[in-house]
């Protein structure tokens, strides 16, 4: 394991020094890699560990983005504080959703549909609220300063996004090794059996969805202040929800590094193909490629790419001793 930690430390060192060598566009790709790794990790907490599939996680991104932006514009509250208010709102919404979904132990299908419905309806309702910019969304005023969470250039965003990602990896590691994580995995494997052994499934499902929702909403605040434009269709839409679950599934569901590996593979691919095909007037083609890739991975490597990465790194890092 020491070799493994040394490896992680060297990767981290490289990532910390990387901005010295990259231009703005390349930095932007890395920001997106970290951003999606973080989102995938947040989603992984719920779906990877408890097995409840959320296909509406964009909901919490939207809540985070809209709450902090609204508070900043209406009351001048710093997004650094607003993001925690957003997280609180996300937790409240997640509790409503969780109460409906988990009360009857509604598994699988019903829960998935419930999550989609919550996201879609929030999108529609937000589209009709004038204070939140209705259909046209909100443009953020560009006032770069630390307290406004806005910066010129991509370097500050790079380090913030990197911090987010590292935080999420540590958080998931802590959850996985704690009693909470063990209970969550027990629920995933067999909810009834877990319940019979005295695990309060409802309680731990609620905790999992609350953690996942609040983590996701923090990323929403980041996204709003990175893009400077929030729009109901792009923030609450199915597209983003699908986008953010692809990486953990392709990387490896219910693992600590799966979402990160998935994001490092998929995000550059998506950014580059998107730019490439949009030039040729073939918008949408990159999503077709995405879809095909996702199907192939699920059919032929259902445990994710992480298995293969482990196999390659194993002789060097001696992972087998513990992890």
């Amino acid at each position: 394991m020491t070799r493994f930690y040394l490896f992680l430390a060297s990767v981290l060192a490289v990532l910390l020094l990387l901005p010295l060598f990259l231009d703005k566009y390349e930095l932007g790709i890395f920001v997106m890699i970290f951003f999606y790794a973080y989102l995938g990790q947040s989603w992984n907490v719920l779906t990877g560990y408890t097995g409840h599939i959320s296909l509406g996680h964009a909901l919490y991104i939207g809540i985070g983005a809209y709450t902090s932006t609204y508070l900043a514009q209406a009351f001048g509250l710093s997004p650094w504080i607003g993001m925690w208010v957003g997280a609180l709102v996300a937790v409240v919404v997640a509790f409503c959703l969780g109460y409906l979904g988990f009360r009857f132990g509604l598994r699988g299908v019903y829960f998935v549909i419930l999550t989609i419905a919550f996201a879609e309806i929030t999108r529609l309702v937000v589209s009709h609220i004038a204070a939140l910019g209705s259909f046209s969304g909100i443009f953020l005023d560009f006032k770069p300063s630390f307290s406004n969470f806005q910066f010129t250039g991509n370097i500050p965003y790079y380090y913030i996004a990197l911090g987010f990602m590292i935080f999420s990896v540590i958080a998931v590691r802590l959850i996985e090794t704690s009693k909470l994580g063990r209970f969550m995995v027990a629920i995933r494997e067999d909810e009834d059996a877990a319940q019979a052994l005295g695990v309060n499934a409802f309680k731990y499902n609620m905790i999992a969805i609350a953690i996942s929702a609040s983590m996701t909403s923090l990323a929403g605040t980041f996204y709003a202040n990175y893009i400077f434009y929030i729009h109901p269709d792009s923030l609450f839409g199915m597209g983003l929800s699908i986008e953010l679950i692809l990486r953990p599934i392709i990387g490896g569901l219910g693992t600590i590094f799966g979402p990160v590996i998935g994001s490092f593979i998929l995000t550059p691919l998506s950014e580059i193909t998107r730019a490439y095909f949009a030039k040729g007037g073939l918008e949408g083609l990159h999503l077709i490629i995405y879809g095909i890739l996702a199907i192939l991975v699920v059919l032929f490597m259902p445990k994710g790419i992480i298995i293969y990465v482990k196999r390659v790194l194993n002789p060097i890092l001696k992972l087998d001793e513990e992890n």
């Binding site: 779906t47 097995g51 599939i53 296909l55 409906l100 979904g101 009857f104 509604l106 598994r107 699988g108 299908v109 019903y110 998935v112 549909i113 419930l114 989609i116 419905a117 879609e120 309806i121 529609l124 309702v125 589209s127 009709h128 199915m238 699908i242 679950i245 692809l246 599934i249 569901l253 073939l282 918008e283 949408g284 083609l285 999503l287 077709i288 995405y290 879809g291 095909i292 996702a294 199907i295 699920v298 059919l299 259902p302």
Partner: protein
């Protein structure tokens, strides 16, 4: 509140509800046989719409006449999807079943986008502006025909499932998979046919919708969600439930425009979904599993 208007909207809602029912029956059939939720259902319908639109623009054949061709095309598409993807994921945990079908939806949606572009299109078919008066209520002829055809298709599916040999096999596989295998039914083939049949009904519904709403590549999500709500309302895997649910939802959405802006009508279907999940999660008519 204006009773005439309410009556008018009610009738329109019931007529649209018949088509909702047709879409939902396909979803329910697929779920009933394989326990898989077809997240590409709405996108398949949109595919059907565009094929029908294509035939109309290129050959001038009315959507009602090309219905059979469209249904056959989507039947083939469904067969292909089932045999290449879905049959391989039936034993996966649910989380892994969701993604491939979502991905199929993504592929279909963007194929439509690639082939026909992002614009909204509303073709003028021969009957699209005709109306008739039934008492005090004005009814679009195209809506009436769509409803009638939807009901005819639904009834023929019921007869097919009840009487034909294949239909009996499908019901057997839905009822007890292992039992069906044991008595010698080729379950994989039955799976293919069920999925294809479910796809064909939603494709047909797409063709029926052509005169009623403008086409757009991104209609799929809304219809997938609507079909989910209808199926949960009626009971998962319950075909009659799907029809009843469709009629209820169509009427409720239509009547809601009396008090809400039309763009918010999905809020109604969502509220219905929440209420059903709170009080009767097995659906109005009871479901499978």
């Amino acid at each position: 509140m204006n009773t005439d208007l309410a009556l008018q909207l009610g009738v329109q809602g019931v007529l649209l509800g018949g088509i909702y029912g047709l879409i939902a029956i396909g979803l329910s059939l697929i779920f009933g046989v394989m326990g898989v939720i077809n997240f590409a259902h709405g996108q398949m319908m949109v595919m059907g719409m565009y094929i029908s639109y294509w035939i109309f623009v290129l050959l001038g054949v009315d959507p009602y006449i090309s219905l059979i061709v469209v249904a056959a095309a989507i039947f083939l598409l469904g067969y292909l999807i089932q045999s290449s993807v879905v049959n391989r994921i039936l034993d996966y945990p649910e989380a892994m079943q969701v993604l491939p079908l979502v991905a199929v939806g993504l592929i279909l949606e963007n194929t439509v986008l690639l082939l026909w572009g992002p614009d909204h299109r509303s073709p003028q078919t021969s009957l699209s502006l005709e109306t008739i008066w039934m008492g005090d209520v004005m009814v679009d002829v195209s809506r009436l025909i769509a409803f009638g055809l939807a009901i005819i298709i639904t009834i023929s599916i019921f007869i097919f499932l009840k009487k034909s040999n294949t239909g009996k096999c499908i019901r057997a596989a839905a009822d007890n998979r292992m039992g069906a295998v044991l008595v010698g039914i080729k379950v994989n083939r039955i799976n293919n046919i069920s999925f294809a049949l479910g796809a064909a009904t939603t494709g047909a519904a797409g063709a029926l919708l052509i005169p009623l709403m403008p086409l757009s590549p991104h209609l799929g999500h809304d219809f997938t969600l609507t079909a989910f709500v209808v199926v949960i309302l009626g009971g998962m895997g319950n075909l009659i439930g799907a029809l009843v649910g469709g009629l209820i939802l169509g009427t409720a959405e239509s009547l809601s425009t009396l008090i809400l802006p039309a763009t918010l009508k999905q809020v109604v279907s969502f509220s219905i979904l929440v209420i059903i999940m709170l009080f009767r999660p097995q659906g109005l008519l009871g479901g499978k599993k």
